[in-house]
Amino acid sequence: MTDITALPGGKSPWQSAARFGLYTLLLIFAAYYILPLIVVLSTSMKDLDEIRNGTLLSLPAEINFDAWGYAWNEACIGVSCTGLKPYFWNSVAMTIPAVTISTLLGALTGFSLTKFKFKGANLIFAMILFGCFIPFQVVLLPMAQSLGFLGVANTVPGLVLVHIVYGLPFTVLFFRNYYVNIPDDLIKAATIDGAGFFMIFWRIMLPLSPPIIVVTVIWQFTQIWNDFLFGASFTTGGGQPVTVALNNLVNTTTGVKQYNVDMAAALITAAPTLAVYVLAGRYFVRGLTAGSVKG
């Protein structure tokens, strides 16, 4: 912790001014970050007349969650008026296995690459890491063919596979950089005691890992939940994730554009990731502190 006030010198007028400047800066940026959320939130609670007559930044006259219920249960997506509900559960069914498997594989791979430095481990790491930079549009066509070949085209398991594959470079990056700072002596001692690979992983590495697991899970959860491109390209109809359904909902109008419903739907879609960030944000920073970003 770096702290000016803790430094010797006491509270001079200059320092008070600096504090004032500091808070001003922090609050200005807080406004920049919070503005879109306020716009979306307040619009979702207005009724249509209020939206039409007021300005974008005005607050709703009364708190009203009608649009939320409508977006969840009744809004039309194409010809079926089911709301976002079924698609939301599709996303859950897709995200949980994809996050779990990619995190586990990332942990095992990171462990192998750092604690059993075989020949070429760094090259392999670099090659895996390169996967972070592949633009996903590039893989759409060959992926479609591969999914068809594997018989999982247009299914949730197919999407799970896609997300595991393109999440791995990140999970490996996180775990590898975390494990690299764990002293090798721990592993050596355990090996001498006769513990095998999985035993060491289970008994020594995993108990040390919660901070980086938090970071990885948050990252993967956010990326996979928010994906639009893969969902839109590889699924149709009832199997689509909620982000794609959101886009369909926003573009489905029957006469009048219901901005409040659109905004409520956007917030419902974002709710799980928002909750994760707000609730786990503290652990996130702590996990990063624990060494994950020390390249």
Binding site: V79, Q145, T236, N248
Partner: protein, 420 residues
Amino acid sequence: MKKLTHKLAVSTALVSSLILGAVNVQAQPTAEVLHYWTSGGEAKAVKALKEDFEANGGKWLDAPVAGGGGDAQAAVLRSRVLSGNPPAAVQIKGPNIQEWAEAGALGDLTKLGEQEGWDNVLPPLLQDIVKHDGKYVAVPVNIHRVDWIWVNPEALAKVDGEPPRTWDEFNALADKLQAAGIIPLAHGGQPWQDATVFETVALGLGGAEFFNKAFVELDADTLKSDTMIKVFDQMRKMRGYVDADFPGRDWNLATSMVMRGEAAMQIMGDWAKGEFIAAGKEPGKDFLCIPTPSKGGYILNSDSFAMFNVTNDDDKAGQELLARLILGEKFQETFNLYKGSIPARMGVSAEKFDECAVKSMVDLQASSEAGSLVGSVAHEIAASGAVRGAVLDVVTEHFNSNMTSEAAVARLAESIELAE
């Protein structure tokens, strides 16, 4: 989590019904329908098709892909075809049908077509679109007219304006409206909207022969001709008649500007009428439909469903049922009443259609006989995706910058050449 267990239960039930169903010989017509009709009148229209399909014992699997007039749909279609699992029926149109057919991806409906006598009820122009090598591979749903001006009569009355018959009259009227503080032209900000205006101007100033020579034959001299320069000059004028906030605006929001009287006119195909009707407006009273100035021209756009290669009997039965319903008189009528278009097949009674649709029917017949009927470029009837895209690029760049008309025609010729 309850939902998840519920999902599991449903899928188990599905699997067991599949096994049991195998004993059942009768195929249940099933069709997965990939479409991008999710807005206003379109959504109602496709719902009518679904209900009709289900009333005839079919199982409809809805696969809507919203946004961008099919931009998003194109990716999912390609991915489904490459994965060897195409949807049964897909909303595609124009030269795309031919390209998919050449790639061997489409099924054959010729037998059904013979039974139903499609050759006798479909206008020749549409037959050309939905047939490949003499075989029916798609069915047309409707005929849209692109070259319409949608007018708010109150706004026009405020300046004592008359519906324009030439582009000079259009400009004079627009100037008057502008002076009165009314936005003359409601316009949205996507390249295809710019191109929609562009093609009506091109037809109006150049005529059908010029239009086809430029955009179908892609003749370089015509593309660089003085007439084309004049077309771009008029586009520059049109830009001045549009309000400043148009970029990024959807077409239906532009339509509602006309409804509210904020703007006086919009140049858009007759799907815009669906928006007026959905908002409870009456043609001839709350809004007027006037063809854009041209000598009896007509720019045609037609939606259709292509039937992809499917292997199982349920899907095949589904395709046939869908095709039969789509070209049936009853569906042609209900659907097109919602959608704002006119029936694709001949012999549907005009009785229930409004004055705009009736005018469209009459003008279609007349222009077809006079040879002034052209396919839309902006809506992918006259030109393939690549050529259409090249035209859109140049038109939208010119419309959104200070490019001169001379530079625009040079770029147009170059861009089209590169696209081929």
